[in-house]
Symmetry: C2
Subunit: 329 residues, 2 copies
């Protein structure tokens, strides 16, 4: 059976290969078209790998947003999630791989726009789309899985586990903007232009600067929300953290709502710690850096987060616990 | 909402991490638990990457086969597909990454068995499960995406594109067994023990031997069927091929049915070519090697396949063109 959209697997691969127009380079030795892609990482570098599922109804909706934006935004966000994981470890992206399961009847135009959004962001960061897989999805939903390969000098990648008592806590940019834009989209009051939910900017340059300049003792990206991701960092480091609410940079779209900045999620800013002796600049690659708290010794078996001295419960978005946006769970 | 199966995302990741029990090694510097995994490939090696979607109703069915086999087989086959892509290029596997989208209400026991099947094959080939992603699937179907990272000495990976006129064509093992077992399963006449459809064996040792001993001019794995995959190899090499039907090794389960060996698919044997001067052994790492035809000059713009002098149409399984096994498309 051929889906109404008119894709066969080979035509879709050809479409992706054409759209990607992947060229052989010093790093990418072989792209789409064989059983595997071949990468040659820079000498003395280690390889970093991350994968992220993007699922219709959970991470995007095809029938949501203006038709001209929906696919482009979904493609952009699919890649941004993976790039942000590389950014959090200070890695340079080498190549992306995309697995796409398309339901019967998907509009070819939507898929084109999805690829357009994904490839525009890839181009902006010089990341070739080097392979992947395609298949007809069972059921009615579209699913994408993005895999990113990056590299970092051996032993130098930033980790979640390096924070020590006395370290200060910093964040790039501002928080709560993605949640605020999502809320406005749900109320059908879209923001003009490219908002932080529809077109988040992975902080690759900032992550690489943190690594290169040895500024960070630990780092994570803010994908699930400041409170949840800071908790992950504290658990990995065996420490706890105190935040100062007045210093948390709230995105202008969130209009001073601290809740959105604390728990909103999907901002894809970098959250990092620096040792007391480190001079952290006010900006990195054009993006503001703000000190928001400090790391303390763990007082109980499970690390706790404090906000202005009060216990703060990690309350970010947990994929299995809550449905969004729209439709079913 | 929490699915009846009782998974939250974090508990599922913990379950996978426990099941994988990934240990730090000279190659795997950091496994599950940070934003990315970190791999250190052997010095002088390139990185090979492949991803494969395994979709419920298309690649496996949860309610098919005996409950004790269904999940184990689906997990085994999910990993086998990726390992077979590495085998086809002569690569050594370094790490696997699994993305799992689980529908609400999936039985925890089925997922455990899926992981059991996947991890048993991983262990047999010394491949750590180093990361991945999990999410609740939209709709009612389970989806898995497997990504494999391997390595091969720089510039030495086997490719589809190296076949030249005069080369001979070889295949490992026997063909048609997976299709024959599938047919018997559809007729509810299961074969005893581990059949070639339910538990295919990726030919990693054979692929590495081909590379190490410089035996192959081109190589591909037989995933879509001999005719389709030979056609891919011919297109990539700009040549055409002649097969000798009498010499094609037909799997004992296929009982002499050449059609199944030609077009059946999912055998995961290796199909390779060797230059006229190369002495190809009769066995590689315990598996029979059979000469089945030869490569000739391309006579038209599109390469043709010939079987005993007659035109052979590539007729293997094309994921978008045909549904299987069971249910919907």
């Amino acid at each position: 059976m051929q889906p109404p959209g008119g894709f066969t697997e080979l035509s879709l691969i050809a479409r992706i290969a054409r759209a990607a127009a992947t060229r052989r380079s010093a790093t990418l030795r072989l792209g789409i078209g064989d059983d595997c892609a071949i990468l040659r990482p820079p000498r003395g570098h280690e390889i970093l790998v991350t994968t992220d599922l993007s699922l219709e109804t959970r991470h995007f909706c095809r029938d949501w947003l203006k038709p001209s934006i929906s696919g482009v935004s979904a493609g952009h966000r699919t890649l941004a999630r993976g790039l942000s994981d590389l950014a959090a470890m200070g890695a340079k992206p080498l190549a992306a791989f995309l697995s796409l399961a398309l339901p019967a009847g998907v509009e070819a135009k939507w898929v084109d726009r999805f690829l357009e959004g994904l490839l525009a962001l890839a181009k902006a960061h010089g990341v070739p789309l080097a392979g992947g897989d395609t298949a007809q999805a069972p059921g009615e939903y579209l699913l994408a899985d993005i895999m990113l390969i990056g590299s970092a000098p051996a032993g130098r990648a930033l980790r979640r586990s390096g924070a020590r008592p006395g370290d200060r806590i910093f964040v790039t940019g501002a928080l709560g903007g993605a949640a605020a834009e999502l809320e406005r989209l749900q109320q059908e009051k879209p923001v003009g232009g490219k908002g932080p939910h529809t077109f988040p900017e992975p902080r690759l340059a900032q992550g690489r600067a943190l690594l290169r300049r040895r500024l960070a003792s630990a780092c994570i990206d803010v994908s699930d929300g400041l409170s949840t991701d800071l908790n992950h960092l504290c658990e990995a480091s065996g420490v706890q953290a105190t935040l100062d609410s007045a210093s948390i940079p709230i995105h202008v779209l969130a209009r001073g709502r601290l809740e959105l900045a604390l728990h909103g999620g999907e901002d894809y800013e970098l959250l990092f710690t620096a040792s007391p002796g480190t001079r952290v600049p006010r900006k990195l690659a054009g993006v503001a850096i703000t000190e928001i708290g400090s790391i303390t010794r763990r007082s109980a078996r499970r690390p706790a987060l404090l906000l202005d001295g009060e216990l703060l419960k990690p309350g970010g978005w947990e994929h299995f616990a809550e449905a969004r946006p729209g439709k079913s769970g």
